[in-house]
Amino acid sequence: MKLRDNLTIFAVAASAVSLEAYIIGLWWFGRDGGSLRLDLNRYLLVSQAYLVGVGILVYASGRRVIRPLESILEGIAHFRRGRLQHRIPPSRVQELDDLANQLNRMAARLAELDRLKNDFVANVSHELRSPLAAMEGYVKLLLEGSPGDERARSNLMRIDANLGRLRRMVEELLDASQIEAREVRVRAEACDLAELLRELRLLFEPLAQASGVALRLETAGELPRATTDPEKVRRILTNLIDNAIKYNRAGGEAFITAGADDGSFSISVRDTGIGIPPESLDGVFERFRRAPVPSSHAPRTKGVGLGLSISRGFARALGGDLRVQSVLGTGSEFTLTLPRRSAA
């Protein structure tokens, strides 16, 4: 039961007790009559008023404690959801004010650590790009210059492919840290989303075939032109389609559907894959979170677990959003919504 309810009950009880005493007094002394009755009557009235007063005082001072406690609870809820910029307001009750201050300082410290972590990831991934690109450059030189030995050539191509993978991971880390620091730059321009979808379908056809997944594109005819950042939309959809194939089953299907209404576009990518358990749905957009994958899928699902977090970050930077629905064992559907015009 809440503290406030307890106080209310106490105040009501105090009033009731005093009223009861008053009535009993009236009845008791009423039998004798006379001035004694009047005096006692007055005495009982005073004591009743006193009890009601105490009740009100207790209730009022209780409110003084409850209100700051409520803002502290509210503040903790904000912090738990990651809104570390929130501050619990000061209280006139010294101990509660101290508590609020301590919690505020803790949140500020967490925000600071978060920023440091983000800067660290950004700096490290930034610094990693140069040596990686240099290695890739030299491998490409070797590939160009050594047409001879077939074994050596195939080994070099493997090095090249792995360096490429490493570079893309580093770029993802950099993207994620930019999203985190709210430094995503949007370059909006007129673009044809239907054309982009057709292009992506062709691009993913080989992977879909190799995975035994039928990739289908279903658009309601042509889409109106969008003003958005095509590179970011491409990154989001690439990630969604890649997942829809990767987290699918052999013989499964992946559907891309797109539509537009007055103000916005909606593009869905649905798979007939393993689905996401309900308890994991909230977490799929969190950084470094990966959908739990049965071991049969493990070799196909390599990555740092930033794809969906980056996709949602980009979608929001474009003024849209990315949402998910999923049924375990049946499949998942990711829906990207975009405004007709994204602010640059």
Binding site: A133, G137, L141, E144, G145, R185, D229
Partner: protein
Amino acid sequence: MKRILVVDDEPDFLDIVRQVLEARGYGVASAADGAAGMAALRADRPDLVILDVNMPVMSGYDVCREIRADPALSDLPVVMLTIRNRDQEIVEGLDCGADEYMAKPFEPRELIARIRNLLERS
């Protein structure tokens, strides 16, 4: 023989680009930062310049703008070659007056094709 100046603060990239270009018979000069590059350009004008973006002293964008502002150099073909490869940065590179923009790591063949096009045009 066409002469190309490569400006990059990373010795590895100077080396990679030099190897790619020399294998195709281009003459290669190099500079390790923007200011040194600018001085080299003014002392001895090459047929084309390849610029890295992030460099100490003077960035590739600054060098490019200065080239375009200098009547003696303004028609010099400029290729920006940089580790940055985000689309907005490509546009920024072209905004400063570069003729081509390529990301590192690059395909040697692609770099050569673009350079050849630029040299034929000029």
